[in-house]
Each structure stands twice: as structure tokens, then as C-alpha cells.
């Protein structure tokens, strides 16, 4: 027999070395093992170092994360770093200028800092979308849409003396690049975050437990709902869209629209929840980005609940500076239209995003104009504001219109999207929902559908409880350790066994990470 003892260690170490690099070199996303490894290393270092040095760990962690998330692209890193330097210096200059500064300072600072975002959106909207010319080959840094808004808000707040300028470049760089939220937000305000990042936190059991729960829940939302629903959505909206139109009739488009609404919500919330969870492990609290948006009873209400950090940013830095609702109804509606046009363009430069934003503006103008009529109608039907039936009707109605807008948002090409929406009304083949072809034609079998359905039901129950005041993570950490650990392990096990991930599965990046 051969003797293996001599090379045993060598092979073992060699394999482990390769294994480690396999993990490390895999793409860095918020659900990747490499990310969890990075978080683990940062956590150990963070709590080992003295309080005042802890923020350096976050800074180095953010640099490492961005380096890998950007695919080690040196140009991307350079553009990102340049934006940070420009916005940092702009802040310093405005601070130095004191009372002498005028709006030109702010305009120049914003344009210079967020130039990559303006170029990217202008390129997509005007060159590609309107002029139908080949777009410029621009360098698009990871998280561009999010960190640009952060910078704009920071510069505006410095300009209006709402915050003190950050003079420490590294601390400012950490605020912009904080790794748990750089890719997909939430978009933080300097006043809310910068002290939390740099002050250093002691280990706190409750924060750690809550963070852990949030991370598990984030994985549940992503792998159990978003990516599984995405398989069906992609089959209908992408695979079936080779020609000028979506190659399917109304019922599947409606079903795909509903599922895409759920996919987008759970995908985005998964990312936010994981960001919040990871931040909490370091003792840092990131604001909520969602407040059960599909329970909204109007589109206006929807935007109070959906992507809260963006909505509040648009309110504070676009809508209110435009005059908000202070200058009469007509100006108010114009401001709404401008704000949502900006929101649309922020999501992407294509015409479809602008159209999607304008749809939401139209919805809200319509809601404003018809409010008295609708109130009278409800009164005639003797439905008070507390009426559950009224709430249900309004919730379903709101969801329906939001869902139609999501179809435009999802399908590549505005014309194709409009035709798809039209098809729901003009070519509704309802029988298809009963011939079980959804189990065979769209990448999900009946077992997948069952898992998806049960997962959505669980999400609904949790959301319903939270809508009525219960904070589920707080409730869990108050339970006996046996029940608490059982909840953790069962949830992890469910995602581990039933999740949509792994070999042969087309793992999906977080959708909002692409904006």
C-alpha cells in the first residue's frame, strides 16, 4: 500500500487553500459566502480592537468589499474614489466660504460629484432612448445611483448649514462607502449615520440577535420568494420576448406582473434587511426602507411605504425645494410630476423608467383630482374610513395600478411593455390559469409553486402582524432560548433545503443593485 502520510498535510493544506480562494474569489454580493466571510472577519476584528479604532475596520472592510464587488475594476474604483474626493473637497470649500457661498457653489459641487450618474442617465435617456443612437461606453461604478444621492444630500445639507462638514477624509469616505448598504441602500443621511459609524460600539446581545434574525429573514425573502418568483417572471417577460411583443396572452402577463411585484419587493427588502442585519451586528442602526407597501390604500400612501429613503430624499431635495404643495394645486401637481420624472430617471435612463415615473405621477394627480368624488361614492355606499371592506378594495385597487406600472418597469422596451399591459385587458385567456400549464411551461413545477405560495403566506402573516404593531424581531428575542434557537435553525434549514440557489440555478443579483 502506498504511504500517504507524507503528502497528507500538503494535499490537505493545498486543498483548503484553494477552497478558501474559491470562496473569496467568488462574486461578492450580499448573499455570497465571500461576503459572509468578510463580515465574519470584520466582526472579529471590530470587537477585538479598542473602541476608537473600530471604525477603521469598517473602512477597510468597505474598501475590500468595493474592490471585489466592482470585479477589481481599477477604472471603476478610480471613478468612485474621485467622486468621494470631489464631494469631500466641495464640502470643505463650501464650509470655508461660509456666508459668501451662493447656489452656484452647490450646483457646481453637485454636478462635479454626481457627474457619473448624470452622464449615465443622460446617455441612456437621450442617446439610446430618444435618439436611438449607440450609447457611450461609460464606466458605471457599483452603487452609483445610491452613493450619488448620498453625496448630493450631504452637499445640500452642508450648504444649508443643516450639518457640520466632515473634515476627516477617511471618515467621510466611510460614510459614502459603508459596505452593508453601498450597493442598494437604504440611502442614508449624514446626520443619521456618520456618528454611528465612527464612534465605535460595544458588543450588544440584543443588537446581535436582531441583526442575526434580519440576516436570516433577508435570505428567506431572497431565496424562497424573490428568486423563485423570478424564474417565472423571467420566463414570461424575458424568454417570451424575443420579438416585438411578449409572446403570451393576458393571463400569464397578469400573473407575471403580480409575481414581479412580489419579486421586486422581496428582493429589494431582502437586500435592505440583510444590510440592516449586518449593520446591527456592528451596533449600527440603518433606517427602515419599507413599511409594507402593498398594504397601501392609495398610490400616495404607497410612496410613503416604498423605498422610504429614496422617497424622503426626493421629498427633501426635489419636491420641497420646488415649492411642494405650498404654491397651489396646479404647482403641486407639476411638482409631483417633476419629482416622479426624476425618480423614474434615477431608476434607469431608458424611456420606460421615465414613463413608469410619470405613471405614478399621473396616479397621484388623478387621486388628488378625484378625491372628493371618491369620498362621495364611499359615503353613498355607507363605507366609513374604518371599513375593512373599503380598505380591502382600496388596497387591491392600489396594488393593481402599481402592478401595471411594474410591468412597464420590468419589460425591456417601452413599447413592448405598453402592449403587454394592453394585452391583459384585450386578450385575457383566463382558462390558462386552470389548465395547469403554469406547472410545466415556466421553469417552476408544482412543488416550487407550493414552496413559493407558503413562503408568500408566511411573508403576509409577518407583514400583517407588523402592520398591526408587532415587531417580529423584538418578539423573537424575548422568547425562551429554546424557542428562539428553534426559530433560527428552522428558518435557516428551510432556506438551506428549499431555497433557489446553487448549481444549475441562475443566481440573480439584487434587482435594485442594477440601478
Amino acid at each position: 500500500m502506498l504511504s500517504y502520510s507524507a503528502d497528507f498535510l500538503q494535499i490537505k493544506v493545498f486543498s483548503m487553500f484553494h477552497l478558501f480562494f474559491d470562496i473569496w474569489e467568488s462574486s461578492m454580493t450580499y448573499t455570497s459566502l465571500s461576503y459572509l466571510l468578510l463580515v465574519g472577519i470584520c466582526l472579529v476584528l471590530y470587537y477585538l480592537l479598542p473602541l476608537r479604532f473600530r471604525w477603521y475596520v469598517l473602512l477597510i472592510g468597505s474598501a475590500v468589499f468595493y474592490y471585489y464587488a466592482a470585479g477589481k475594476g481599477k477604472k471603476i474604483l478610480a471613478v468612485f474614489l474621485l467622486s468621494i474626493v470631489i464631494s469631500y473637497l466641495s464640502g470643505i470649500i463650501m464650509d470655508k466660504a461660509g456666508q459668501k457661498k451662493n447656489k452656484l457653489y452647490l450646483a457646481v459641487a453637485i454636478v462635479a460629484s454626481a457627474l457619473p450618474l448624470f452622464l449615465a442617465r443622460g446617455n441612456d435617456l437621450f442617446l439610446t432612448g430618444i435618439l436611438h443612437k449607440p450609447g457611450l461606453n461609460l464606466i458605471i461604478p457599483v452603487g452609483l445611483s445610491f452613493y450619488s444621492l448620498q453625496m448630493i444630500a450631504y452637499l445640500s445639507d452642508v450648504f444649508h448649514d443643516r450639518i457640520k462638514v466632515e473634515k476627516n477624509f477617511l471618515k467621510y469616505a466611510l460614510f459614502i462607502s459603508f459596505f452593508p448598504q453601498i450597493i442598494q441602500g437604504p440611502i442614508p443621511r449624514f446626520a443619521d449615520l456618520h456618528e454611528q459609524l465612527t464612534e465605535g460600539h460595544r458588543f450588544d446581545d440584543d443588537n446581535f440577535s436582531k441583526g442575526f434574525i434580519k440576516i436570516i429573514w433577508g435570505f428567506f425573502l431572497k431565496f424562497m420568494i424573490a428568486d423563485r418568483a423570478g424564474t417565472f417572471v423571467d420566463s414570461v417577460f424575458v424568454s417570451g420576448s424575443g420579438g416585438e411583443t411578449i409572446d403570451t396572452a393576458g393571463s400569464y402577463i397578469l400573473l407575471a406582473g403580480i409575481l414581479y411585484s412580489i419579486q421586486l419587493y422581496t428582493d429589494f427588502m431582502a437586500c435592505t434587511t440583510i444590510s440592516q442585519g449586518v449593520s446591527l451586528l456592528f451596533g449600527i442602526r440603518i433606517g427602515e426602507n419599507f413599511d409594507h407597501p402593498y398594504f397601501a390604500t392609495s398610490v400616495q400612501d404607497f410612496w410613503r411605504r416604498w423605498h422610504i429613503s429614496l422617497s424622503s430624499w426626493l421629498r427633501d431635495y426635489i419636491y420641497i425645494p420646488l415649492g411642494g404643495n405650498r404654491k397651489g394645486k396646479v404647482r403641486k401637481y407639476i411638482n409631483v410630476i417633476i419629482t416622479f420624472a426624476v425618480s423614474g430617471i434615477w431608476h434607469g435612463g431608458g424611456l420606460k423608467f421615465l414613463f413608469w415615473g410619470l405613471m405614478h405621477a399621473f396616479y397621484q394627480v388623478y387621486e388628488g383630482l378625484t378625491k372628493s368624488i371618491r369620498t362621495k361614492a364611499y359615503d353613498a355606499l355607507q363605507m366609513s374610513d374604518d371599513s375593512a371592506v373599503k380598505k380591502l378594495i382600496r388596497t387591491i385597487w392600489t396594488f393593481f395600478w402599481v402592478m401595471l406600472a411594474w410591468i412597464i418597469f420590468r419589460i425591456d422596451g417601452l413599447r413592448k411593455g405598453i402592449i403587454a399591459v394592453k394585452t391583459i385587458f384585450t386578450d385575457f385567456d383566463g382558462w390558462r390559469l386552470f389548465d395547469f400549464s403554469v406547472f410545466s411551461n415556466f421553469g417552476l413545477d408544482w412543488k416550487d409553486w407550493m414552496v413559493l405560495l407558503f413562503s408568500i403566506i408566511l411573508l403576509f402573516v409577518v407583514s400583517w402582524k407588523e402592520e398591526h404593531g408587532l415587531v417580529v424581531s423584538d418578539w423573537i428575542i424575548k422568547q425562551h432560548i429554546v424557542l428562539r434557537w428553534t426559530i433560527y435553525i428552522v428558518l435557516i434549514l428551510i432556506v438551506w433545503v428549499f431555497g433557489s440557489y446553487g448549481y444549475g440555478f441562475d443566481a440573480k443579483d439584487f434587482i435594485y443593485g442594477g440601478f
Binding site: 502506498l2 435557516i492 446553487g502
Partner: protein, 514 residues
């Protein structure tokens, strides 16, 4: 300090519970290939290898599925007393053979290694190691974790990375190193097909045929190869050639006689000459069963024997006997009396008999063969199952324990379930009812069934025999019979006899177990 210690203890306990749970989940969801669920029961075959006593295997067979179906260690032992083991697996390329040989040498000191030559040449060219990803996994997963396995995975992934880089072909890429450690990455969708064996891993513990896989297909014709062109030459796959050299070196280092064999199949002068050249260079015996000389020695009856491609059990017996004679006379492998082979002789014969049943055509002979305590027999009538029932057939049915005389129930619905092991017989005939159905379980309530005989209208009749959710009835006029074997834990035959027509009482098979 105390608080930190409590935290650390909690962390360790929680992590232990979590990792144990996830480990168990991975163990359950990893595929297990047994006689009951696969024609090539790789998991059970390799598991049995690990249970063999140390240094008792004198000959190892390595190669792809054609090797697994051709070389039967039981037959070789019964005939020549040679203790061999078949370590082949589906699409096992030379790369995979090398590592299984290396792994085997940790436990055994074989005197000879027989390598089947099919995979010396490029076959699956869009795959880095000449084997598709799924079957690479099937081969490697069953290997115990060891330095050899770690080296194999590392080697495989390195080769595959280079292959993908060179060809740009990511579609057929092998798995990552990590997926061998965290198997859920590979088998994340396995929850959809979990079966009894996944929760009772002891069922995959061994398959008793020492790596050989018995197939029961019908006979097959084959035109043997006759060498005609000495100048033709087909180059071996470069990676296969590299690992062939490694196998040769490994054998040399361990004093093992390396032997090449080719099961009848695709063969031409180019391939033959390349192998012969290699053999003459390194003094390796080559038994080319595809060549006319050896083929003629097999004495194949093509009506019953399949000796080419995936051999059937009768064809494999002939190839194994001839191979055994070469091992005995040319390679001088000694005969040794060993209970590890003696004890499995009965199992092999039993297995073979199930194959004999599945090729029995005459109804009376067929029914007489059902007298086996491991059989559960399901009968369901479609249409008039008694119109042309012979009295001899009625007698055979009575011998199985059936009481209903079908001759008294012309054009009736009828079903029967016979559990030979317990002697339990359930049967019912009804002249008036439109539908007769019965559900129950066999094999200690582990297998569920539903038998249906339906006569909705004059021309609307059907037969259904569902076992564990799968339909097995041929649903043809007459008696539909399904035989479930409790020992092998699978349906071994599904057949129809048209007892409604006097000239149609020979077996019609639509579906047989694999």
C-alpha cells in the same frame, strides 16, 4: 469576562446544533443510487467496497458503464475462485479511474487491474475530463473523504478551470470545490425527489454484486471488428493519456499487473492500433472482446445474450467467464476461497431469476414463477379477462392463493393483491359495478398501492396499478400483472396477458423496471 465566556459557550452550542442539522440535511438530500432506484447503483456499489475485508480483493475492474455491466465478480469467483471487484461507474473516464484506483489502494492490494479502454478516446469533448458533470459527481460523491478525494476534487477543479478558460465553455463546467464540501450547493433541488432511501441510508449500504450491475435487456446482434489497416491511428485524448500513464506508474509502483480490456462496442483500426501500440510499449495485455477472435470465443446466442455495449446479465456471464480464464491462465491470479464471495452467490442467482421472470412469455409458466415469498403480486382485469382463460391458467392462479374463479365472472371488473410473504390475499370481482378499486400497503407499510379495474361503459374499460405514485399497469385487455419484489424493493415486472383472446396469451410488456 464571565459574560463573554457564557456568550462563547452559547455560540459553540448553537453552532454545533446548527452545523449538525445542516450536515444531516445535506446527508439526506445527497443522491443515493441503489438497485431499487438505478440501473447503475453506484452509491451502494462503492459503499460495499468499503466494507470488504482489507487486502482481500485480487482484481479490480475500472472503466465506464460498459465495464460495470460486463465484468461480474460473482461469476468470475464462482468459475475460477478469483476475488475481484468492479469499481467502474457510468462514463468513468481515465481521470476518474485513476483516483478510484488510488483510493482502492488504501484498502486493498490487488494483483491485477483491468481497465476498460472505451474512455481512452475523446467521447464527451465538451467536458473537461471526458465525463459529464452529473456522472462525475455520481462517481466522486460516493468516495469517502480522504486525502485522495481532496486531491481529486482539487485536480478536477483546476483542470476544469483551465478548460473553461481555454474553450470559453461554461455550460458544461464541473462543480466548485466548495460544492463537494457543502453538497447543498449542488443538490439544492433534491428536496423535490426525496425518497425512502434518503431517510434510510442503510438501504444504500451495499448491493452485494461487488460493483457489477445486472441488466435484463433482450439479446443483441453485433458485428465484431476485424483488423485490416495497420497504418490507421487514432490519438488518445491527451488528458486521458496523461492519467493512463499515472495509472500505469501507480500499478508499477505497487507491483500490480495492468490489463486492458475492451467490451464489444465501437472499435476501429485507428483505436485498436493506438491501444496495441501503447500495450506493446509497456508490456500490457489487451483483451479486445470487440475483435472477432475473442468474440467468437464468447459463443454468443444473440437471441438471448447481449454482449455488446451495455451487456445483459447473460451476456455478462459469458464475457466474465472468458475474462476470468485470462486472469487465471495468463495473469496467474490465484484462486482463493472467501466467504465474502461465497455468501453472495445466492443473491446473484436470486437477482438473475428476477430477470428470468421478466422474459417469460407463457402465462402458465409465468404464474408458476410467481411463487416467491418476496413477491407482492397485483392483478387487474381490463375488459373480459376470462373469455379465453385456460383451465391450466386457472389452476396456476389458484396455486397463488386466489379463490375467485374468473370463468364465473365473464366481462367483470376484477382485481387481486397477493402478498406471498404474509400469505395475505385480497381479491374482488364484480359483474355489475362500474369501478372496483382497492388501496393498501405492502413491505411493512412502506409501499403504498392502488389497484383499479374499471368498467364504466361497454367500451370504456381500464386497468390501473399504481405503486408509490407511479402507474405500472399496461392497461391492456386481459390480465394486467405487476410484480413487486420486497427484497429488491422495486417493481421487477409489469406485464399483460390477453386472456380474452385464445391466441393472445403471451406476455406483452410495456414497461419493465430498470
Amino acid at each position: 469576562m464571565k459574560k463573554n465566556i457564557i456568550r462563547a459557550v452559547k455560540l459553540i452550542i448553537f453552532s454545533s446544533i446548527l452545523f449538525t442539522t445542516l450536515y444531516l440535511a445535506n446527508a439526506i438530500t445527497e443522491p443515493k443510487y441503489t438497485v431499487a432506484n438505478s440501473s447503475w447503483p453506484t452509491t451502494a456499489s462503492y459503499n460495499q467496497f468499503y466494507q470488504m475485508k482489507k487486502n482481500t480483493v485480487d482484481v479490480l475492474f475500472l472503466g465506464s458503464s460498459v465495464c460495470v455491466n460486463a465484468f461480474n465478480p460473482q461469476v468470475i469467483y464462482d468459475e475460477y475462485g478469483i476475488r475481484s471487484y468492479n469499481l467502474g461507474s457510468e462514463q468513468q473516464s481515465v481521470f476518474l479511474s485513476y483516483y478510484w484506483l488510488k483510493e482502492a489502494l488504501r484498502y486493498q492490494k490487488p494483483k491485477a487491474v483491468v481497465l476498460e479502454t472505451k474512455f481512452f478516446f475523446p467521447i464527451h469533448t465538451s467536458n473537461s475530463i471526458n465525463t459529464v458533470e452529473g456522472l462525475t459527481r455520481k462517481c466522486i460523491d460516493a468516495m469517502h473523504f480522504s486525502p485522495v478525494k481532496a486531491e481529486e476534487i482539487d485536480d478536477l477543479c483546476t483542470i476544469d478551470e483551465k478548460f473553461v478558460k481555454r474553450t470559453g465553455n461554461t455550460e458544461n463546467a464541473q462543480d466548485t470545490r466548495l460544492s463537494y464540501l457543502l453538497t447543498n450547493i449542488r443538490y439544492h433541488a433534491r428536496w423535490k425527489e426525496l425518497a425512502e432511501v434518503d431517510f434510510k441510508p442503510s438501504q444504500a449500504k451495499s448491493q452485494q454484486l461487488k460493483g457489477y450491475s445486472a441488466l435484463f435487456d433482450g439479446g443483441s446482434k453485433y458485428t465484431p471488428f476485424t483488423p485490416s489497416d495497420d497504418s490507421a491511428y487514432t490519438a488518445m485524448d491527451s488528458l486521458m493519456s496523461e492519467y493512463l500513464d499515472k495509472i500505469r506508474t501507480l500499478c508499477d509502483q505497487n507491483g500490480i499487473k495492468l490489463v486492458f480490456a475492451r467490451v464489444p462496442g465501437d472499435m476501429d483500426d485507428g483505436k485498436n492500433n493506438a491501444i496495441v501500440k501503447y500495450c506493446s510499449e509497456y508490456d500490457i495485455p489487451f483483451y479486445n472482446f470487440a475483435e472477432k477472435d475473442l468474440w467468437d470465443q464468447l459463443n454468443v446466442d444473440t437471441s438471448t445474450d447481449r454482449c455488446n455495449g451495455h451487456c445483459n446479465v447473460w451476456g455478462a456471464e459469458k464475457i466474465s467467464r472468458l475474462m476470468g480464464s485470462f486472469l487465471k491462465n495468463d495473469i496467474k491470479v490465484p484462486s482463493v476461497d472467501d466467504d465474502q464471495w461465497n455468501d453472495t452467490e445466492e443473491y446473484y442467482q436470486y437477482m438473475k431469476n428476477t430477470g428470468e421472470l421478466a422474459r417469460t412469455s407463457d402465462i402458465d409458466e409465468y404464474l408458476s414463477k410467481l411463487d416467491n415469498k418476496n413477491y407482492d403480486i397485483f392483478l387487474s382485469a381490463k375488459g373480459d379477462a376470462s373469455k379465453a382463460l385456460k383451465s391450466t391458467t386457472a389452476d396456476e392462479l389458484k396455486k397463488l392463493g386466489l379463490k375467485v374463479n374468473l370463468a364465473d365472472h365473464q366481462n367483470s371488473t376484477y382485481y387481486a393483491v397477493i402478498q406471498n410473504g404474509t400469505g395475505k390475499v385480497i381479491e374482488k370481482a364484480d359483474d355489475s359495478s362500474g369501478k372496483l378499486t382497492h388501496s393498501g400497503t405492502v413491505r411493512d407499510r412502506n409501499v403504498s398501492y392502488t389497484v383499479t379495474s374499471q368498467k364504466e361503459a361497454k367500451d370504456e374499460v381500464s386497468s390501473s396499478i399504481i405503486i408509490d405514485g407511479s402507474e405500472y399497469s399496461n392497461d391492456k385487455t386481459g390480465l394486467n400483472i405487476v410484480v413487486y419484489d420486497e427484497r429488491l424493493m422495486k417493481v421487477i415486472d409489469a406485464v399483460n396477458f390477453n386472456t380474452s383472446s385464445s391466441d393472445g396469451q403471451t406476455a406483452k410488456r410495456q414497461q419493465t423496471s430498470d
